[in-house]
């Protein structure tokens, strides 16, 4: 494929939302105000697992300043077996609802039980404290291996285990066990000269977005609900709220406010239906802001996991067999993202003999949500640690071992799909040729680690409308919440087609009534899919502009050609701006429409190279140098691609070294604040270096793959490998915090502890 030359794509224009954000004018959900607005507060469970025997709201209801109190009883009655799709697959309505307001049982500490609307948030909070809830406390279970034991406390009496696709009727905390098989695993291991098998554990970690959840709802007299909130998907909020409240989607309008981070965690609804119920009862708009502690305790972290990985290879490095056992914590309701872990665990390798077992296990922790390539970082930590050890045993360069077995076009994954054109080899080669990898690493207690990871990315529907204005600029209307600069990366694709500058396009993210259906900003899909919708809409504009030019020149429209924003036919020529000024006289408004449901999703590979220094006296790891390498397909706006790579790397480093839900035995998160939940700060990190690889995705007009996620997959393993080389022993549990590293050093040394 020859490289097309672009005039806008691949450049670094300033972002359209930049001025608003740096001057503090961007309006976030917490900024939202309305006349007559009330403030809500949600009462949450102090127990990790308990039966609710009685809720008495009478004292709160009569507390001065209180307008309404709601519990799960305020949801309209519906058929118990109803199944709804909340954007991440099918869920029984009763589970979707009971995560929003507990019904009968609380399943994790922080589980919402009741809500109060009052004149202000302080009164609402004080009144919530007057709600009497009688609990029968039940034993809790906090990890997948514990929850899988036959005598484990059961979370859901109505959860029947699915075993290899069949419903078993067995009540269990295991929602599902799946298996992917390819080739003959026994024969594969028998053919191996070297086999490495290890067990791994990873802690529950949170996305850690800075902006807490928020929602304002107005249930109007005409029966329509308006919602303003911070979300990655306004249409998901619309559909989920409608499903939970059992009303048609047409009755809900969602306006996405500016968003302060999500990383997958702002896909589920938590407070929107509750604010709506409170608004219905009071007839006034109700706003609820979630405290940070509740963000940790009650919104989707990513699963903790227990994994076993076994890989065998011949002396020359050919991998003969690979096996994985993946047990992931779903939190309170099924859906542990273990499926994606199974799809990605060995995706970087071209393998003949594979077995992958996955278990989706409910535990008494908050219901997990997506977090950047959900499931894949856990799996890669296990698989890439084993590959690293294998390289050591074989005496091979770890990148050479990976290159020898690298997946390429035509490679079949154990879960079924055959790769189209992918950039796994190109990413590994870029790692090998990097200045970082070639540079020597000197000094004691230092180590270098590498790893590679994959994320498949998703498509999903997107819509885009373009309105040509008389001054020759274009207003772009879209429904994708902008988390990472997508207003600009989408506008640039329209600009490229129209032959305009990025600055000539004015993108606006609008409410669900004002644009066609658009899926979530997630799955690395927005620049890919909404960008494609913008591409289609721009083609539509070009077609109409050609007709207008044809009309002016009185030529058939098929004879008009456009290049670089100039329309030509038969010696005539006219620029976009000039033509735009004449749309009124040539037939009126020009509106370009794009609506897509793309199939040609291209997965992305990412690699990480990291140098660490470990303090042998304290066990503290310092990241000396870190390089992220990723196949972007085509980097529409390279600076934003680099930003994604750096962000994913930093989150991966935090996950590797310090982040964790530190749980007490009775299911209380002990570190539910940003002080104690230790995400890295700028002082803990070097500048993250980036190398963008571009292997165009044949399934997208500009070759885009999507870059939001794959970059968080390899850092954990790369850091683990670096630490292993620095201290001469391997940690198999995340986080690898200073006490854990110190313990590993002590375990290794025969000398008594100092």
């Amino acid at each position: 494929m020859s490289t097309p030359s672009y005039s806008v794509i691949g450049t670094r224009p300033i972002r359209h939302d930049g001025a608003d954000k740096v001057t503090g004018r961007a309006i976030y959900g917490a900024d939202f105000q309305m006349a007559g607005m009330l403030h809500g507060f949600i009462l949450r469970s102090p127990h990790a697992h308990a039966r609710i025997k009685r809720i008495d709201t009478s004292k709160a209801e009569v507390f001065p300043g209180v307008n309404a109190v709601v519990t799960t009883k305020d949801f309209p009655a519906v058929d118990d077996s109803k199944i709804v799709d909340l954007g991440e697959g099918n869920t029984p309505l009763r589970w979707a609802r009971s995560n929003v307001l507990a019904d009968g049982k609380v399943l994790y500490r922080g589980h919402a039980v009741a809500a109060v609307a009052a004149v202000n948030a302080h009164v609402a909070e004080e009144a919530a404290g007057l709600i009497e809830v009688e609990y029968e406390v039940l034993p809790c279970v906090l990890t997948a291996p514990e929850a899988m034991k036959p005598d484990a406390p059961i979370l859901h009496q109505d959860l029947k285990m699915k075993e290899l696709g069949e419903t078993t009727g067995k009540v269990s905390n295991v929602a599902e066990h799946f298996r992917h098989v390819m080739g003959d695993i026994e024969a594969g291991f028998a053919a191996a000269d070297v086999v490495v098998e290890r067990e791994f554990n990873t802690a529950t970690v949170h996305q850690g977005y800075i902006e807490p959840h928020n929602a304002t709802a107005l249930w109007n007299n005409d029966g329509r609900i308006s919602i303003w909130c911070s979300t990655q998907g306004s249409f998901v909020v619309r559909d989920a709220t409608a499903a939970i409240l059992d009303i048609p989607v047409s009755q809900v309008k969602v306006t996405p406010m500016e968003i302060g981070g999500g990383f997958g965690g702002k896909i589920p609804v938590y407070m929107e239906p509750v604010a709506a119920l409170l608004s219905k009862k009071t007839g006034r708009p109700v706003k609820i802001l979630m405290p940070r502690q509740a963000v940790f305790e009650a919104t989707g972290p990513t699963p903790g996991s227990y994994m076993k990985v076994k890989v065998g290879a011949k002396k020359d490095g050919t991998i003969t067999a690979a096996q994985a056992y993946l047990a992931f914590e779903a939190g309170a309701y099924p859906g542990a993202m273990v499926g994606p872990a199974g799809m990605t665990v060995f995706a970087a390798y071209d393998l003949a003999n594979v077995t992958i077992d996955g278990y989706d296990v409910v535990v008494n922790k908050p219901s997990t949500a997506a977090y950047r390539a959900p499931g894949a970082p856990n799996a890669a930590f296990a698989a890439e640690s084993v590959i690293d050890e294998l390289a050591l045993k074989l005496g091979m360069d770890p990148l050479d071992l990976r290159l020898k077995n690298a997946a390429k076009e035509g490679t079949r994954r154990a879960d079924g799909p055959k790769f189209r054109r992918i950039g796994c080899v190109e990413v590994l080669e870029a790692m090998k040729n990097s200045e970082h990898y070639k540079s020597p690493l000197e000094g004691s207690n230092r180590g270098r680690g590498v790893a590679i990871g994959f994320w498949f990315n998703v498509g999903l529907p997107s819509s885009c409308t373009l309105n040509v204005t008389a001054d020759g600029t274009v207003n772009l209307i879209e429904g994708s919440t902008d988390i990472g600069g997508t207003r600009t990366s989408i506008a640039m694709q329209a600009a490229e087609v129209l032959g305009l500058k990025s600055e000539d396009i004015h993108p606006t993210v609008v409410d669900t009534d004002s644009i066609g259906f658009t899926g979530v900003t997630g799955g690395s899909r927005t620049t890919f899919a909404t960008g494609w919708a913008a591409y289609e809409a721009a083609q539509d504009v070009v077609r109409q502009m050609k007709e207008r030019a044809a009309k002016i020149w009185d030529v058939p429209s098929e004879t008009v050609e456009q290049a670089g924003g100039v329309y030509r036919s038969n010696g005539h020529s006219i620029g976009f701006k000039e033509l735009a000024a004449r749309i009124g006289e040539t037939g009126g408004p020009i509106v370009g429409r794009g609506a897509v449901n793309p199939r040609g999703v291209g997965g992305s590979f990412a690699g990480a190279i990291v140098d660490v220094a470990v303090d042998p006296e304290t066990g503290k790891t310092t990241i000396l140098r870190f390089t992220s390498i990723q196949d972007a397909g085509k980097a529409i706006h390279p600076a934003y691609v680099e930003g994604q790579m750096q962000g994913g790397s930093v989150q991966g480093i935090g996950w590797a070294l310090n982040e964790e839900y530190f749980m007490s035995g009775d299911g209380r998160m002990m570190n539910s604040s940003f002080l104690d939940y230790r995400m890295p700060t700028a002082l803990d990190l070097p500048m993250i270096e980036t190398i963008i690889v571009e292997v165009p995705n044949p399934g997208h007009p500009f070759g885009v793959r999507g870059v939001g996620e794959a970059n968080i997959v390899p850092p954990q393993a790369a850091v683990a490998n670096a630490i292993a080389h620095a201290i001469g022993t391997r940690l198999t549990r995340l986080p690898m915090n200073p006490p854990a590293v110190m313990e590993a050093i002590w375990q290794k040394s025969t000398s008594p502890r100092s």
Binding site: M670, R678, D684, P738, P739, M742, E743, S754
Partner: protein, 289 residues
């Protein structure tokens, strides 16, 4: 957070009178501990008295005879930007610059750090090492408390109802002195000490003439360890004497296991940090010559 009244008296006498007549009131210096605790419901009050407008509590001065006077409400930023502090007590400037981040340092005071009496408070071990004295006043009179006697239990100090901390007094450093506070945190900022060690020494002719060592986060209160400091007196400056003191510091620690670390790990850190803090103090003393 529940409602409370707020008053900002401008004289010490007024502050003491208000505090005397409102036994449930809390003083607010920077508020970086107090407001967090009020919001979390760990403390409740009907009245908050802001002391940032009282002159005596915001004084910062130095003279050779009396040493450093640090008003109880002086912020960390004012402390580390002060020329006298930088010259005579660089270790105090250093500790003021590691408490929280820039925003916190603009509000938080060393006095508040002490009054809050957290076992993990970063300033307290250094204040103990530097032999600081606390000037405490109530509407009935004044008294002095040695800083090592000030904290009595987690969150509890030795002041009686109606008493407030007016200022801290640090003797002027002698020739050949050096001091250092080192804490261990997994993150490089915005973190609570897993263990911390404050050390101050005076050297004379290559020998320790004076030494005080105190620990953070390894006991129910900031822990003064006289045996560790005393063990150095008369000893030459070398690895053996420093390591012996470090072992004594470690032996005095009685930490707990929690999310920040285990008993074993924290005791181990006491030895590592004591050694490093003493080395840093020695270096400072030798360079000052």
């Amino acid at each position: 957070m529940k409602w409370f009244d707020y008053q900002a008296p401008t004289t010490l006498a007024n502050t003491l009178a208000l505090f005397d007549s409102h036994p449930g009131a809390y003083l607010l210096a920077g508020g970086t501990d107090l407001l967090v605790q009020l919001r979390a419901g760990r403390k409740q009050t009907d009245l908050v008295l802001d002391i940032k407008h009282v002159a005596e509590l915001n004084e910062i001065s130095f003279d050779v005879a009396d040493g450093l006077t640090l008003g109880a409400a002086v912020s960390c930023a004012q402390t580390y930007e002060n020329a006298a502090v930088k010259t005579h007590h660089p270790s105090l400037a250093e500790v003021a610059s590691i408490i929280g981040g820039i925003q916190i340092q603009g509000r938080a005071s060393i006095g508040g750090n002490l009054c809050n009496a957290a076992p993990s408070a970063d300033a307290i071990p250094l204040l103990i090492a530097l032999s600081a004295k606390c000037r405490v006043a109530s509407s009935k009179g004044e008294r002095q408390i040695a800083v090592e006697d000030f904290c009595i239990a987690p969150g509890k100090n030795a002041m009686l109802p109606g008493e407030i901390l007016v200022s801290l007094h640090l003797p002027a450093p002698k020739k050949g002195s050096g001091a250092s506070y080192l804490r261990f945190t997994p993150r490089n900022e915005m973190d609570i000490a897993v263990a911390g060690v404050g050390a101050s020494i005076v050297l004379e002719g290559g020998v320790f003439k004076h030494a005080r060592i105190a620990l953070a986060s390894v006991a129910p209160r900031p822990l003064f360890v006289p045996v560790a400091g005393d063990s150095l007196i008369g000893k030459p400056v070398n690895v053996e004497s420093i390591e012996a003191a470090a072992e004594l510091a470690k032996g005095a620690a009685t930490p707990i296991t929690d999310m920040r670390g285990t008993v074993e790990y924290r005791r181990h850190l006491c030895a590592v940090l004591t050694k490093r803090a003493l080395e840093a103090a020695v270096k400072q003393a030798q360079e000052a010559k």
